[in-house]
Symmetry: C2
Subunit: 309 residues, 2 copies
């Protein structure tokens, strides 16, 4: 069953590039690599808990971006796959910890019970810690045919994108703004540039660094990532209002209920959509120097504003 | 004011090696490096929370072991200092998360309020995540004059020592055993080899790897570390019974109160002390090939059984 949005994507990009097929193919590769990345051994519960959230589906956008930029710069999927998996491990860790009662207190995620609802809070905290540590181990131990100095650069970038200078910093400001209705646009931008943007940017940059991208290429890709990162968040905020729980696979209307300041609450839905479209256009402009090779990244940028979940 | 135990250490090792002076000197170097490792910028709260626990004192045993093995194998303090700091960041992360209400629910640590009692549970969880991510970034970004392949090996070893195959795995089994009085010696050993032992072993091995230790040297040091790690835990268990809250800087008698299975509960205090002494003797035997150069590690092994906190 193809939704009208899926159909629209196919129609508008098919001549040049079959995004739906591309995403499906890459998703399958990433799923297989993730499936193999963690074996269940004693003590089984922690490995099961880590696998429960890591293999719960999702768009695998971060790994796919990482593979795409590695190929764009002349590298291979094999070179980037351990880093791609690590990105998903880190993203999953952030979701597990975000969902905890002490944080967002969510019972559902991607249509199933959150980690702590199944395994308990203690194990969920540890599963997050385990995934975070394993992400770095996995890159260091599994990356093949890449110059060691590039691997070290990737680890440094990735670490920075998760820590207080990235995701964790964004999350802290987000928590501080909870229940406040006077949050400025500047603060909202800070939250999302760090909470969502930093890891998306790392996804894009790490793939490029593994393939040996120079400073100028990294700068174009960095701006591409920052723009789609913010667009992604604006669309998320809009979908929280306009989409159903079934479409989202998580509680819908949560922001409104919590009277949370969001892009639509500051700008309205229409202007939010316009801003997201502009950011996507800006993102695509950064890809001009790469020509035809950038078609997957172009299509992914378009997909962000067209998606329904 | 010098305690009788401190005096005993000085007396027994002074002729060969002044451990007290050595530890003090190294501690000062490590404190200075840790102090500089994290600056407070916006959003201040997360950096303050990370610094609160990271700079709360402690023996700095892991960093000191790392510096010592790096020098033993012919490296310098400068080569190992970023990894030494990272080890303390990771150790601190494990303490912050351990103390959470969903885990051990401790109000005091090292004589002061635990992180979540000061900053709230949400920030404490994020401070731990931030420290863990920063540890890997710090090694990757700060390590100088070390071959890149060795840095990657260190990151792989360190990641493994924290994740489900190490510290996190030990912690999960520890949680599963909570309130059970039928815990076997095998399980107790598993817990401590992972919860405390894995990171101590990584501390010892990472310093050696940075300096280019070969496989045989790594094996001796690995067994040294495993033995002092277990001895360290046995002594911890004994001190929980025999030391006062003032001496420990944390709640004393907690194990007894929780009817927790410990080495003294399985073996009695006297036999526990004998086992700890034997492990220390075995650890020191592994250092024979290094001759005089191993004096710091010899003295640290002795210190473990003699310490009062």
């Amino acid at each position: 069953m193809t939704s009208s949005v899926d159909q629209k994507i196919v129609n508008t990009t098919q001549a040049a590039f079959d995004l739906k097929h591309y995403l499906k193919e890459r998703q399958t590769l990433v799923e297989a690599a993730l499936e193999q990345s963690i074996a269940v051994v004693y003590p089984e519960k922690i490995y099961e808990s880590m696998r429960y959230s890591l293999l719960a589906g999702g768009k695998r956008l971060r790994p796919i971006l990482c593979l795409a930029t590695c190929e764009l710069v002349g590298g291979t999927i094999e070179m980037a796959m351990p880093t791609a998996c690590a990105l998903e491990m880190i993203h999953t860790m952030s979701l597990i910890h975000d969902d905890l009662p002490a944080m967002d207190n969510d019972d559902y995620r991607r249509g199933q019970l959150t980690n702590h609802k199944v395994y308990g809070e203690d194990v969920a905290i540890l599963a997050g810690d385990g995934l975070l540590a394993y992400a770095f181990e996995f890159i260091a131990a599994q990356t093949q045919q890449v110059q060691p100095t590039r691997i070290i650069q990737v680890i440094a970038k990735l670490g920075r994108s998760v820590g207080a200078a990235g995701l964790v910093g964004g999350q802290v400001v987000d928590l501080e703004c909870e229940g406040r209705s006077d949050v400025s646009l500047e603060t909202l931008n800070f939250i999302h540039r760090h909470k969502t943007g930093a890891l998306l940017e790392a996804s894009v940059l790490c793939g490029a660094v593994l393939a040996g991208a120079d400073e100028s290429v990294q700068q174009h890709l960095s701006r591409y990532a920052q723009n789609i990162g913010l667009a992604f968040q604006i669309v998320d905020d809009v979908l929280d209002i306009t989409a159903t729980q079934e479409e989202l696979g998580k509680t819908a209307g949560k922001d409104l209920q919590a009277q949370k300041v969001t892009y639509p609450s500051l700008w309205g839905i229409e202007e939010s959509q316009r801003q997201a479209n502009q950011l996507v256009a800006d993102a695509k402009a950064e890809l001009q120097p790469f020509g035809e090779l950038a078609r997957p990244l172009m299509a992914i940028a378009d997909y962000i504003t067209a998606r329904k979940h």
